[in-house]
Structure formats: C-alpha cells, structure tokens
Symmetry: C2
Subunit: 107 residues, 2 copies
Amino acid sequence: MKADELRGHLDALILAVVKDAPLHGYGISEALHAQSGGAIELPTGTLYPALRRLERLGYLRSSWSTVSGRKRRTYELTRAGRGQLAAQRQAWSEFSGVVGGILGTGA
Amino acid sequence: MKADELRGHLDALILAVVKDAPLHGYGISEALHAQSGGAIELPTGTLYPALRRLERLGYLRSSWSTVSGRKRRTYELTRAGRGQLAAQRQAWSEFSGVVGGILGTGA
DNA sequence: TCACAATATGTAGCTAAACAACGTATCAGA
DNA sequence: TCTGATACGTTGTTTAGCTACATATTGTGA
C-alpha cells in the first residue's frame, strides 16, 4: 500500500491507535503496522511531525519517561482528541461511502 | 466533505467517471458532484491540472469539439487508463479495508 | 437591454502533508 | 565488537490540491 494515500487520514489512525492505551511514537508505528496487517510502515519523517502537529492542535498530550534506559515520549488522547476522533470516524464513513460508491467498490 | 481528503484518490474518481462515457472537464465535475450526492465540488484549479496530469501519464486522451457555441475538450480513457483504473480500484479496496479496520468503521 | 447565472476553459502562486535521507543514542545478543 | 532493535528527532524536497484570478459564450429574468 502506497503510504501517501494516507494523506488526510493519518491523523485519524494515530488518534484511533492511542485511544485505548497511551503509546509512544515507536509504539504507535508498530501498532499501526500490526493492525494494518503489515500494510502501513510509517517513516519517522512522517510520524514525528504528525505527532507534534496533533499535540499542537490539542488532540494529544505527551509526557517523557525512561524505560530500560531509553527515553520515551508517551502520547495520550485529550478530551478534544476524543471529540476529534469521533468526528474523523464520521468523516471517514462518509468519505469511504462516497469514494466506494463512485468506484463501484463496496457499494 | 473536506475535498482535500481526496488527495491521492481523485485520479481514481476521474478515471471511474469517464470509464463508461467520454466527458469534458465541466461534465466530469458535474458527474462527480452528482454521483457523490453533492459531497464533491471540485475547484477548477484542482480539476484541470489533474486532467492534464492524467493525460500526460497516458491514462486519458483528449479532443476538442464545439457544442452549441462552446468549446469542449473531451476526455476518454486509454487502454492504459483502464488498467490504471483497475489497479486503483484494487488499491482503494485494500486501503479502505485497512483504514476502516483500524478506525473500527466498516470492520 | 442589461445584468447575472450557467456553461466552459484555463493559469499563477500558495500551502501543507508526506517523504527520503540524514543524525543521535541505548541496549541485547551473537 | 558489531549488528539489529529500540527510540528520538530534523532538514529539505516534492507534489497535489486550493484560492484567486482571467477569459469567453449562451441563456434567462428583471
């Protein structure tokens, strides 16, 4: 899967993956890889700027910790982030319906 | 629907909409508007460059005509365009499955 | 008749997101 | 000791879509 297709939807995926449990950047990358069945492999040049953007927008909150000698910045959803995730889910539903309908896939 | 979400998928939509019948730019715009239930409204600054790009890539072929005093450039799918459309459909199917799965929408 | 909407094409310049290619550092195991 | 996994990040580039603008014809309603 061309990762660039994600454009505009990556935020939703990140929010979704940290929803249940706070995760650090590398963990988010791994979670997306696993949950996509290996289809998603985020370059760090994509992931870390996205995380900073989401924090700047108030959807994520981060805190540093050290786990077995390695520093981690752990991200968790804010209240606004939960709202945004719900909105993104809704937007995805509409979007996929529209595109699927026109492409004749899934409609 | 935020039109920018289309990024990366617009080509597929255009190819899909000219598949059955050749259309001119304005007609493509209207077809997408109608087939999306009004959700898609393409700015001309998006549509026309996209058409030129698709022609340059060999997926579309264009020809001029005049209909009731107005000049039209009509686009039709090439053989390569048909192949590309099939590939895009496949890619969409995989993409929507992955995203839907992670967002918990449609999976 | 005069203005406005619809039809129809296009370009120039901007923005933002994703990417490739770096750079830094720790730890485990061969 | 050296490689691979873990973990953070930045710089500079590319590119697609957007806004705003420019042009022209035809149909319509005031």
